[in-house]
């Protein structure tokens, strides 16, 4: 599904140039559950952003489902992203002004799904993450664990082929964290590819393969 070859990513300020990713190559097969680990500043979140088409490359090649996306402009990346990729963030990133239902509905609005179909799919996915009874509440009325379940629901409502999770349990206690990891595992078992960045060895054990990074490069891959 994902084939990255000799990926380069640089961050430039007026005085300093930092190499965030240094000739990095990796492959992710369809249906895999990958954990990316490494110390702070090693480039794992940068890698995730590039995989998620949120950031552009400074060098190298990125094939997403055999489509070369390295030279895509923002509009093409956005298009590909909204139909194929779901995101789960450490700090949930729900929109405070929208109810739970409306938050989960949002990706369907942007992909122009008709209203009746939207309702059906949102309810289905809210049931799946067991938060349907809170659908008319606002994010600030929910606990951290509940918010992350909503975030996961939002990530999957469009049936994406790939889920990218950036420290999904970072702001959760162990029980809630386990619940979220369970959700991701179930999604993976249903065929969704998952790439997760994590500091937690515990969470990494849910994955099929662990990629360890250091200083913008992959230093080790361990099959789980």
């Amino acid at each position: 599904m994902i084939k990255i070859t000799d990926l380069q990513k640089l961050y430039r300020t007026e005085e300093v140039e930092t190499v965030a990713l240094n000739n990095l190559s990796m492959e992710v097969k369809k249906g895999e559950f990958i954990a990316v680990m490494g110390p702070s500043g090693c480039g794992k979140s940068t890698l995730l952003n590039i995989v998620g088409l949120l950031d552009d490359l400074d060098g190298g090649s990125y094939l997403f489902n055999d489509i070369e996306v390295a030279q895509f402009n923002e509009r093409k990346r956005s298009d590909l992203r909204k139909h194929n990729i779901g995101f789960v963030f450490q700090s949930f990133n729900l929109i405070d002004e929208l109810t739970i239902f409306e938050n989960v509905e949002l990706p369907l609005i942007y992909t122009k799904v008709p209203a009746a179909e939207r309702k059906r799919r949102v309810e289905e996915v809210l049931e799946k993450v067991q938060i349907m009874h809170r659908r008319n509440h606002f994010p600030q009325q929910l606990s951290g664990g509940q918010q992350q379940r909503v975030a996961v629901a939002r990530a999957v409502v469009n049936n994406p082929k790939l889920i990218l999770a950036d420290e999904p349990t970072g702001n959760l206690d162990s029980n809630n964290g386990s619940a979220v990891m369970q959700l991701l595992t179930e999604l993976n078992e249903q065929g969704t590819t998952v790439v997760m960045v994590t500091h937690s060895e515990h969470d990494a054990r849910y994955s099929d393969r662990i990629i360890r990074m250091l200083d913008g490069q992959i230093v080790m891959e361990v099959v789980g």
Binding site: S78, I95, E97, L98, L106, P107, Y110
Partner: protein, 791 residues
Amino acid sequence: MIKNYFKTAWRSLWKNKFYTVINISGLAVGLATGIMLLLWVQHEFSYDKFNKDYPDIYQLSSHFQTDGDNITWEGVPGPLAIFAKSIPEVQSSVRILREFDQVLSNKEKRKIFDRNTVAFVDSGFLSMFDFPLVKGNKATVFPDNNSVVITQSTAQKLFGDSDAIGETIIFFETNFIVTGVLQDFPENSSIRYDALFPMDLYAQQFTANGGNGDWKTIDEDMGNFGFNTFVKLQSNAGSEKIGEVFSAAYKKARNGDSDVAFRLQNLADIHLINAGGNNSALRMVQIFMLVVILLLAIASINYVNLSTARALLRAKETSVRKIIGANKWQLFFQFMIETVVLFLLATLIAIALIFLLMPFYNSISGKMLYFSLSDISIWKAVAIAVLGTLLASSIYPALLLSSFKPIESLKGKFSSGLGTVSFRKALVIFQFSISIILLVCTIIMSNQMTFLKKKDLGYDKSYVFTVPLTQKVGDHLDAIKAELNNQHGILNIATSDAYNFSNLQGSTGDIDWEAKPANSNMIITQVVIDKDFISTMKIPILEGKDFNGTPVDSSHFILNETAVKQMGLKQPYVGQQISFHSKEGTIIGVVKDFNFQSLKEKVSPLIFFSWWKGNILYIRTTAENAQQAIAAVEKQYKKYADNSPFSYNFIDKQFEAQYQSDQRAGTLFRVFAGIAIFISCLGLFGLVTYTMQVKIKEIGIRKVLGASVSSIVQLLSKDFLKLVFIAFIIAIPIAWWATNKWLEGFAYRVNISWWIFVAAGILALSIALITVSFQAIKAAIANPVDSLRDE
């Protein structure tokens, strides 16, 4: 999707109530003011355009060159309407002769009203103009010379609810039958009368009174420039060329002895530009339009500033939306919808404000504007103000917010790439520059009005009142004066033919002296007075003496300084011979120049003469005895008056009334300056509040490290006050130029002192300081533990 946008917009506004209130308040006040001003501007531009043929209707005016000066008279001689008949491009012509302050009464004389403006009009008047008759027939309104057409208001005054057709009106001791009732002349008509009489009647009287010298009819009289004459041209006829045709025809009729030029001015222009080309009224309208734009700009800037400053808070939401699939234009549209919702709320409040404030606005603007939501022109004004401001305010913030890069924004950094901080500072500077300019204009206009009120006019206008006399009363003048001279509290009594001594109108070129240059066209203002007038008005005599009340006065003249200078006479002036209206006489006195016209003009030549008794009584009294004096004069008046109403005017009030429109402009500017400062400070308050929130951690750390409250207040305030100071520097030259331009319209004016600019700057700075300090002090005294713990 749109439903989602509206939901988000509404909830976002509700969540951030403080900023929503700031935004809506500023916008509502700005929109309300802008719309009211636009209504006024619309009204000014609408004058006379209700006449469907207005593009082809023109007014003739007379233009003279006199010793370097251009003189313009609105009136032209009667024969021009006859010349018009032989000009192919002229379809029709109408003469109007106005008489102000006339008495009309019903037959029983139980209802008598003065202060009517009546006009003698040619028979084509109602065909040329669109003044609808509610009763009567346009074709037959003047069946004879004893007909009169009155307005609905006049009919109501004289006859109540009964049908006025066939009723009798008395005017100048003569009975007239009402043959038509007109709808009241609209407020936006330059032509407005209370009653219309046939021109044939005036013509008949003119001839019966011997005409004017050799000219026995009004159609022949080349010397009387008293007729307002309108012509209707064929479409696309060249008005300039036709003016020249009239000039040539008149010159020919005078056997080549004429330098007067006649010009045509379109009906739609006469309200804002006078016949002489003075467009100060138009300029005032243009200034107000500029003020509308500036006030709406200030209100928009508040919204733009607050939205962009708080963009950081929306950055996260924007990024999430982008990540989950929104494209830039969907986000742009979402933010536009938020602005639309805010504007809709602000517009509703603005409309409510307008309904509340309309009466107050009408009282200070001197207009009778109506705000009715069923009037399409109101919606035009609302649409222009709202859409213009909406477009100006919404595009930049929407573009900014929709352009954030998702990942950086989620991390809490966002590079707008648009230099938002500098841009916001520039906007604040712009707002305060406008406010300071308006403040300076207000102070200078106020100073100029005070200067005019207090200026020494060259005569004493305090506690002098005038009483117009009817012929009957005037016949007993000597008896009246003898009685009043014994009245306690009456210091002086005199007579003149001048109705308004601060705006003398009668003038003539019919004056000759020995060394008069052949090409001289000197125009001189002429005033009839008696032997007591100069002393009553306390006008200093520089040389010679006053009239003495004997028949020899009829061959004596008194001139002002400017007259003798322009005539090129040498001292001693007394004893020199002049000829006035073909009558020889001697100069017996020269008075010091005094202001007898608007202080927008320099003093011009003036001649006093005493050929007949004036019909206006001038009485000097004192503050304590004014009421007694008026009562005494009224008693004498009514002894001889035979039901004619008694009225009086204090001449200082007449003087002030001339500057009413300038006074009103001054008041309006004061209001605008206040509104501009209010809106600017509202925006500043919002920005300061926001800045304090952003700097809360920094303030906490500084306090922990030992900073005092005053040093923190200073730190927080100085950036904002710097902006106001820069605004002040920018505003000075613009304000100086603008006020100088306005003052150019006055022959007598105040100096623009430097302290005025300093005062305006200090005022703006003080108001800004108060606005900023309130929030700065609040932030500075907050417990640092709270802010650091939250972080």
